[in-house]
Symmetry: D3
Subunit: 237 residues, 6 copies
Amino acid sequence: MRPSGRALDQMRDIFIDTDVTMHAEGSCMIRCGNTHVLCTASLEERVPPFLRNTGQGWVTAEYGMLPRATTTRMRREATTGKQSGRTQEIQRLIGRSLRAGIDRNALGERQITIDCDVIQADGGTRCASITGGWVALRLAINKLMKAGDIVTDPIIDHVAAVSCGIYAGQSILDLDYPEDSEAGTDGNFVMTGDGQMIELQASAEGATFSKDQFGELMALADKGVAELVAAQKAATA
Amino acid sequence: MRPSGRALDQMRDIFIDTDVTMHAEGSCMIRCGNTHVLCTASLEERVPPFLRNTGQGWVTAEYGMLPRATTTRMRREATTGKQSGRTQEIQRLIGRSLRAGIDRNALGERQITIDCDVIQADGGTRCASITGGWVALRLAINKLMKAGDIVTDPIIDHVAAVSCGIYAGQSILDLDYPEDSEAGTDGNFVMTGDGQMIELQASAEGATFSKDQFGELMALADKGVAELVAAQKAATA
Amino acid sequence: MRPSGRALDQMRDIFIDTDVTMHAEGSCMIRCGNTHVLCTASLEERVPPFLRNTGQGWVTAEYGMLPRATTTRMRREATTGKQSGRTQEIQRLIGRSLRAGIDRNALGERQITIDCDVIQADGGTRCASITGGWVALRLAINKLMKAGDIVTDPIIDHVAAVSCGIYAGQSILDLDYPEDSEAGTDGNFVMTGDGQMIELQASAEGATFSKDQFGELMALADKGVAELVAAQKAATA
Amino acid sequence: MRPSGRALDQMRDIFIDTDVTMHAEGSCMIRCGNTHVLCTASLEERVPPFLRNTGQGWVTAEYGMLPRATTTRMRREATTGKQSGRTQEIQRLIGRSLRAGIDRNALGERQITIDCDVIQADGGTRCASITGGWVALRLAINKLMKAGDIVTDPIIDHVAAVSCGIYAGQSILDLDYPEDSEAGTDGNFVMTGDGQMIELQASAEGATFSKDQFGELMALADKGVAELVAAQKAATA
Amino acid sequence: MRPSGRALDQMRDIFIDTDVTMHAEGSCMIRCGNTHVLCTASLEERVPPFLRNTGQGWVTAEYGMLPRATTTRMRREATTGKQSGRTQEIQRLIGRSLRAGIDRNALGERQITIDCDVIQADGGTRCASITGGWVALRLAINKLMKAGDIVTDPIIDHVAAVSCGIYAGQSILDLDYPEDSEAGTDGNFVMTGDGQMIELQASAEGATFSKDQFGELMALADKGVAELVAAQKAATA
Amino acid sequence: MRPSGRALDQMRDIFIDTDVTMHAEGSCMIRCGNTHVLCTASLEERVPPFLRNTGQGWVTAEYGMLPRATTTRMRREATTGKQSGRTQEIQRLIGRSLRAGIDRNALGERQITIDCDVIQADGGTRCASITGGWVALRLAINKLMKAGDIVTDPIIDHVAAVSCGIYAGQSILDLDYPEDSEAGTDGNFVMTGDGQMIELQASAEGATFSKDQFGELMALADKGVAELVAAQKAATA
């Protein structure tokens, strides 16, 4: 019944390759089906002005799409002269989500920038960016700890995200692009490794939704995030 | 226990004055406590390119803040040369929310732009914009129907929004700025007049939240939106 | 003979409501007929670089229009990415005019920014901004003096402005929008409370004008500014 | 008593060389003392959208300064990414002034753009631009008339401009940069060949001015513009 | 003697993987040592305005770098608001080079955009972009020919590029980043499959160079381009 | 056979007038036939951040064209909001070229900015800018040496540039605009006074070129640069 042929609660195959680029302090290529995102973590020994001399660190994120990551070529944001509202909304979400899983005092006064660049898009790029971004962050912090620059692990828990939606009246997990573009309701769920909520977003596109339907989406998200966290563990073991 | 001295489930006083500006097809000044937003509806007999010759109309929104709507003066976005990510995120939310309450075929091939300009800010400006924006939209459509330009009322239901959050471990309704800046979790709930969901957003700032806590926020939102819808009805009667 | 039905030398009704916003150090809503401008004064304990360590203060101004302040909706300058030439010309005029009425040594090394935001436009917005901007400035300085931060009053005199023009061959005072859009000559006169000139601007739109005609406009401006100054006195008494 | 050693009512030497660039339809280099402005007129057989199918033409102007036209090098506006408020204010003034001297119906549906580029600056660049811009416009129209593209001369009268100001308490004519930077009041007077007014601007910088003082400035402007018009006649004879 | 340990006339290993992204009409990942560039060809059935109704097609290119393609993270051009001069210079070079190898009449009135996005940088990114861009172009045209949309092959010859330079007084082939940053002279040579020149650029950084030295660089370029063309042939066979 | 009627190896007439503007530390107007470029050198006693406290100076360049320097009026870059790729490419070339002829240690920690503004264009503007820019630089340094601010002459050698190309199958020297727009190959050669190379650029537009043809262009360039250096010597003697 799903265009993808998957069961209602079935995730796409997840692959996370780590250390895929030679310069970044941490990196991975995450592939959720045909959605491929390159996530890098860049360390800087400085923080934004509002954190100077506080002893606290910062994690921030930027998001981009290659022009031909999509079915039809999109104009490069560097030529339009600004990031779109959608891009800014997504990168603010990634940054907030990853910061929720970190102890910024333990990180110390340094900044880690997570770049999430979509190489190929087939729905769910913001969720893949959060899940892969956490892996890049984990690897960069591992390096800092190994070098003795950080003593206490600043990572509190895993952070991963999955989309759920209502498609043809049914609640489904991990929408690909054809499913997403037809879904009546579309939601993103960012959660921790122990099932706490970091961020929920659900939006009706066409038909509104009820509290019961939202409950179904949350249950699916629980299942999906558990699988993503398992993949993160396997990749960073 | 709340800085505002209100009960946990108590809204701020709501005032909606209509027809407050001579040029707009519909307008109101909504005041939710000390948050004051001027909402205007502007009608144009044209639609965005992707809707031409479809017979469907469009509702869109823009959001702005006067420089001294806030405690300290903010730089005018016209001088920084672009709208911030926050501004774009908010105006996209307002537009999506109001479109969910309208039958775009019944509206016909015309566009209504809702401008929400914050005259004074004390928390909850995006929710006040949605609630007041619906009133401006309602009034503009009333005018079109009175003139016979639209036969079937394109408005399906009321659309209103309220914020809820977790403050000092307690779930509270309709956060003002001092409450919002200290809340561990902050959410916005956009709903219809009959209690269906249009958009949910909840975000942990510091501490994560559980499914039970989120359930409490939804119950508070139900109560708040019902009061806002009553105020909309009184204003547009 | 005037579209507004007013006598040739008759001003529109003037209302100045003060302290209309909770955050600004000084504020007023000035209404000259249907032209309504919200003026706020924001105090900062810093000055532009060229004044550092000079002991002198600065007064500057910014001007904006809400998108639907006008008959047809105007595009928001924050979305076009820059302030128009007209906006910049007006805000430079407001700033120059208000600085002419102030002793910058007595003000001390601090900056006051006057924001003039047009809520509803019907001609004469720059003049209303200057007249109302002076009230906001006066109130902010009163607060500084009351707090003992300033000892000597830095305000030398009132500053107010009115437009005059030649309409259907007749010199008229205080043009509203329908009169302004048809006037052959249009001028703005910024003056002090004792009738000295700060800034004159007169521009032929279509027909040129003679020295005699310009003399008539100046006489009208004398009358108009006297009435505006009286309104300022009443509002700040 | 003037830094320049000139009499109070003495203009700088004026030179207008015509046809100084091979591509423009009309051009001149105007030199008012050490202020040198290259003025070109460019003809296009199209008009701005608001004039299409009206049979009326348009004259517009742009203004620029070479980076080292001034005592210290100024940043190039092409690198700052926008024209300054000052630049826009000046080019709007040049355009308005030249349009006041032209019959746009006789011009027909075509646009002439006057570019005024300051090669060397020593005060009075906007006045030199208007005076020289008129010469470039006159020459371009001569060419159109010679070719038979225009039958009736659309030029109604000469347009020229001069600055006057109050320096050390005395009214003086045609301020150079050292005089301008010290003047208490500075004004620009745009007039026609028969002494009618097109635009007046006078601004107090420091001290305010009286009606009598303004009368003195106007009398000086009469003298100065007459000399400029004579130079225009000699150059275009 | 080279930091890379290579012989003076030794290229880095070249790998070209084709069809690496699902959406583009043609694509490859080219790896020249540690320099990795993703090249995609996007087909549009429209041409720039200056080619409409000429029957001729167009090939253009855009170039970008992921923020952490480099040793230290570079600011994303989408956030700086514009492409740097370096980026524009490179993408203009890629476009010119690829157009030189194509018969635009045989291509017909359609545009192919080559996007070259540097995933990892270690010197020579512009040359890798040209060499890989040609492969993406070849594949996209193959698809058009297979579909019967183009009858005559518009590709005239291979286009490939290599850098040569003078390092420690010796002429070397295919500089990596450590070599490039120390080279006294650095040149890029764009050539066809049969050894004709398309574009030469050589620039002294520090010491100037003689005609003899330039002759040595050209001879090295001949060798390098021949190897690159062989790799192109193998990849597109 | 050339549109200009010149012999294949014949330069246009060269005139270099020095000290043409009163404010710049060095200046010239260079005229190569109908191509006229105003070159000014501006001295600043500061260097870019990467050179602070190194004892080394910097030479940089900016390039601009007046809107009507060309056959049809070009849009002013200050109004488009950015410098074009072509402009940036040219000014980077001018800066690199002039730096190659200077000992930056002998210059000391100061910056000289060369502005090259094209007053009239007829092909070869970048070459004229380099040749004239060197004269402005020479004059500014002469002034520094005369004042005793610099002891050792930092100028190592002359820097001059000329274009060569293949027109109708023949190699020609110093292309004007009609020749340039029809040439199959177009190259720019920047050289020192003793015939060493600083920068070579040659680009096929349409037909590719062979090594032999490139050799012919280099021989022509030798002749042309020698004549330009002679003109520089005459102008700065």
